[in-house]
């Protein structure tokens, strides 16, 4: 390892100063003139580049009354870089859809320049505003000032995590429900579950206004909520004709008709016909001809469950749990809350420690899970029914919820039979 120096040299990191893509290294290097810890951060980073090794250790730090929201780090190179001996990240809940007034953004900048290293990440992969570089004292001061300004901490640990959604109705004609409102309402209703870990493991919602899933819900959230519609695609035949005229019938055939997964579209001259009963609301035709086609008007959401990335059982995706639910009235929202709470209850009671809801379903089986949550099986939940004939009829052998084999499981044995006969 390199020796302690007055001036911090970062030759390897410096190779990232140039080049056309904006350089975080350049930004931080400039900023280090105001915040010495940022220079030390780059020093440690350079050391990592040289050694291909990391020098952060994790630890735990909680703001009073919160069970998460701070990712605490201390440096193994604190002797060399004393100002990053403690270098924590505070996760802050952003406005839904990451839309900001400059006023609120500047407010954040001010708080963070005052109490922290003044490094922000917009945004973390879960969706939080990440504020990098506070120590064991300034973390609390910063949190306090954040709270006073109306901000709140994001999630971490076995808790509800900060929600994220696509821009939706705020700027997108595809949106089939109000992603921003739903995100905000769910956040606020379950703010306690977000702040005080009480789940078997983390639980993420991600919300997308349509099947395009710009909110990345399918593989990165436990509960994807995706907009859809029940009635027919709205077709503006004048715009269809204009599109066909502009691009040609071949283009429409190759790129729309033949790309429809259920081939339910036909083109007659310059008119399009859709067999809406066979349409699976995949959005493709609408994406390509978005001036001519639009989702229907009986809108709502499809709710899935169990998406996550790799750790332990490999990547999983959300499984279709509720094919359609309207999300307009208060009663609609109550049904959503009820569903969420039933899932949390069943999962919370039966999952093992560190078991995401998708892992839980993978272990107990979707059929057993539906029973537990009180949802009727629907053929839309599966691509296809089972192939294996080994059906366990639970009336006879109840499914096992617990992770460990029971000490004294039910057995069929000869003796019992003998006793029965006697």
């Amino acid at each position: 390892m390199s020796e302690k120096k007055k001036k911090i040299e970062t030759p390897m990191v410096d190779e990232l100063l140039d080049g056309p893509w904006p350089s975080f290294a350049k930004d931080l290097k400039e900023w280090s003139s105001k915040k010495p810890q940022v220079g030390q951060l780059l020093g440690q980073l350079n050391q990592s580049y040289e050694d291909k090794w990391n020098y952060w250790q994790g630890t735990v730090l909680n703001v009073d009354g919160y069970g998460g929201g701070v990712i605490a780090r201390y440096s193994e190179l604190a002797e060399e870089y004393p100002d990053i001996a403690q270098f924590h990240t505070i996760r802050v809940i952003p406005p839904a859809g990451w839309v900001y007034s400059t006023e609120s953004l500047r407010n954040l900048c001010d708080i963070w320049e005052k109490h922290g290293a003044g490094i922000m990440q917009l945004h973390g992969m879960t969706g939080d505003i990440l504020l990098l570089g506070s120590d064991n004292k300034t973390t609390f001061e910063a949190a306090e000032e954040l709270f006073e300004n109306g901000w709140d901490l994001g999630g971490s640990g076995g808790a509800l995590r900060t929600l994220a959604c696509c821009v939706g109705e705020a700027r997108c004609e595809m949106a089939c429900y109000d992603t921003m409102k739903t995100t905000t309402d769910l956040t606020n209703r379950y703010i306690s579950q977000l702040h005080r870990p009480e789940f078997p493991y983390k639980y993420k919602f991600k919300l997308s206004g349509c099947a395009n899933d710009c909110g990345c819900s399918m593989q990165r959230s436990d509960m994807p909520i995706i907009g859809t519609w029940k009635d027919d695609i709205r077709v503006d035949q004048k715009e269809v004709a204009a599109f066909v005229t502009e691009h040609g019938a071949d283009f429409v055939r190759d790129n729309v008709i033949n790309r429809c997964p259920t081939r339910c579209i036909t083109l007659n001259k310059k008119k399009i016909e859709i067999d809406n009963k066979e349409c699976v609301r995949c959005m493709h035709c609408i994406n390509v001809m978005h001036k001519a086609l639009r989702p229907g008007v009986e809108k709502g959401v499809t709710i899935l469950l169990g998406g996550k990335r790799t750790l332990k059982i490999g990547d999983t995706m959300g499984v279709q749990l509720v094919p359609f639910m309207p999300l307009k009235t208060e009663e609609d929202y109550d049904k959503l809350y009820d569903l969420v709470e039933r899932i949390w209850e069943f999962w919370g009671e039966n999952a093992m420690d560190h078991e995401r809801v998708g892992e839980f379903i993978a272990r107990v089986g979707l059929g057993t899970f539906l029973d537990g949550v009180g949802i009727d099986p629907d053929a839309r939940m599966v691509k296809a029914p089972r192939t294996t004939p080994y059906i366990k009829f639970e009336e006879i052998t109840p499914g096992r919820m617990g992770g460990e084999a029971e000490d004294d499981p039910a057995v069929s044995n000869a003796e019992v039979e003998q006793m029965e006969k006697a």
């Binding site: 099947a211 899933d213 399918m218 859809t228 029940k230 997964p261 259920t262 009963k277 349409c279 699976v280 609301r281 995949c282 499809t302 899935l304 999983t316 995706m317 959300g318 499984v319 279709q320 094919p323 359609f324 993978a362 979707l366 059929g367 057993t368 539906l370 029973d371 099986p377 629907d378 053929a379 839309r380 939940m381 599966v382 691509k383 296809a384 029914p385 089972r386 192939t387 294996t388 004939p389 080994y390 059906i391 366990k392 009829f393 006879i396 052998t397 109840p398 499914g399 096992r400 084999a405 499981p409 039910a410 057995v411 069929s412 044995n413 000869a414 003796e415 039979e417 003998q418 006969k421």
Partner: protein, 360 residues
């Protein structure tokens, strides 16, 4: 020398197929050019040199007395230069050199044997089946009998070659071992609970072998109070596969009261188009009702009706359901979709609908 022979294995191997070939087969071996349908059950294969070999396919019960087999031979001697074959679905194929023999042959097959002509093209051909109560030691239902009962209701489908969108292959199996093949439609016996261990039998089989055969390690030895070692089955692990029953009759997996029949659809072995596919559960819980199993034939006809009504030409059953979706399959047939249709094997996750795509 005769004695010596009697003691050791002869290892004769397979009969020489060349000696069994119809003369036109031997002559044009590997030299066929194309074939044509003449009518349902009747094909002609044309060789490069113009030779024509006619085939008349007759439905067979598979299980036959030697008298019946001899009658088949009589007909083949009369019209087929003494050669015939059986198909991979146990049908008889009469091979003819002369077109004019087709009519008389068919007449004789019908009159003497009572075998129907068909099973070619887009038909329901003979049902692949197993031993059932006629010979196996493991069956929970019959095979030859239930197949006879079902085929009685499928004559139209057997005797026509374009009544259906594509070939429909049916199979039937009499225990969960499933000696029957895959199929567009397969009728299988279903056990409903772990084996019941017959106390009187414990000890007749090698206990360690019985323990070892269980795929999920559900069987374990157990000391009884009287010191005798017996077996026990951990119910929650057991998947009622019946492997132990094959190893030891004491592990009684069958239950006349609860065993049912299940129908699986969409199996396919051909690598055509979408490729081969496994069959999937369509209906469970059908009663095992000898001698005519009408609930089974009703269900099969419901499936065939829906298929006929909505499949495209050349679309095998599994390809059809994949296209229209299982949701529609259950709507069209009226069968319920239950939690037992949902896979719970180690690969279950690959069968879930992991998309927001949805039909209404």
């Amino acid at each position: 020398m005769a004695d010596e022979k009697r003691k050791g294995p002869r290892d004769n191997g397979a009969p020489d197929y060349k000696k069994n070939l119809h003369p036109l087969m031997a002559k044009n071996y590997g030299q066929w050019s194309y074939h044509e349908k003449i009518k349902p059950g009747v094909l002609v294969h044309v060789a490069e040199n113009g030779d024509k070999l006619y085939t008349v396919r007759a439905g067979s019960p598979r299980t036959m007395s030697v008298d019946t087999v001899r009658k088949i031979c009589d007909i083949a001697d009369k019209y087929c230069q003494g050669h015939l074959r059986f198909t991979s679905r146990a049908n008889v194929e009469f091979l003819l050199a002369k077109k004019k023999d087709i009519g008389p042959l068919i007449k004789e097959v019908k009159e003497v044997l009572g075998f129907p002509i068909g099973g070619t093209g887009h038909s329901v051909s003979n049902i692949l089946h197993t031993q059932g109560w006629l010979h196996c030691n493991l069956p929970g239902t019959d095979a030859a009998g239930s197949v006879k009962a079902l085929m009685d209701t499928l004559m139209k489908e057997f005797e026509s070659d374009n009544d259906l969108p594509a070939r429909v292959k049916i199979s039937a199996s009499c225990c969960q071992i499933n000696c029957g093949g895959q199929g567009d439609i397969a009728i299988n016996l279903q056990h409903h609970h772990p084996p019941v261990i017959k106390p009187e039998g414990v000890g007749i089989c090698e206990l360690p072998k019985v323990v070892a055969i269980c795929p999920v390690a559900a069987i374990r030895p157990r000391q009884q109070d009287d010191g005798v070692t017996t077996l026990e089955v951990v119910d929650e692990k057991c998947m009622y596969c019946g492997a132990c029953h094959g190893q030891c009759p004491t592990m009684e997996i069958r239950d006349a009261k609860t065993d049912t029949l299940t129908i699986w659809i969409g199996g396919k072995t051909a690598s055509t188009r979408n490729g081969p596919s496994f069959m999937k559960l369509a209906v469970w819980g059908l009663p095992n009702n000898p001698p005519r199993w009408t609930e089974v034939s009703d269900a099969v006809h419901k499936i065939l009706d829906a298929y006929k009504a909505t499949a495209y030409k050349y679309e095998r059953m599994g390809e059809w359901v994949e296209r229209i979706s299982w949701q529609r399959f259950f709507e069209l047939t009226g069968f319920p979709f239950t939690k037992y249709h949902i896979d719970d094997s180690a690969m279950a996750r690959t069968t879930y609908n992991t998309s927001a795509q949805v039909r209404f």
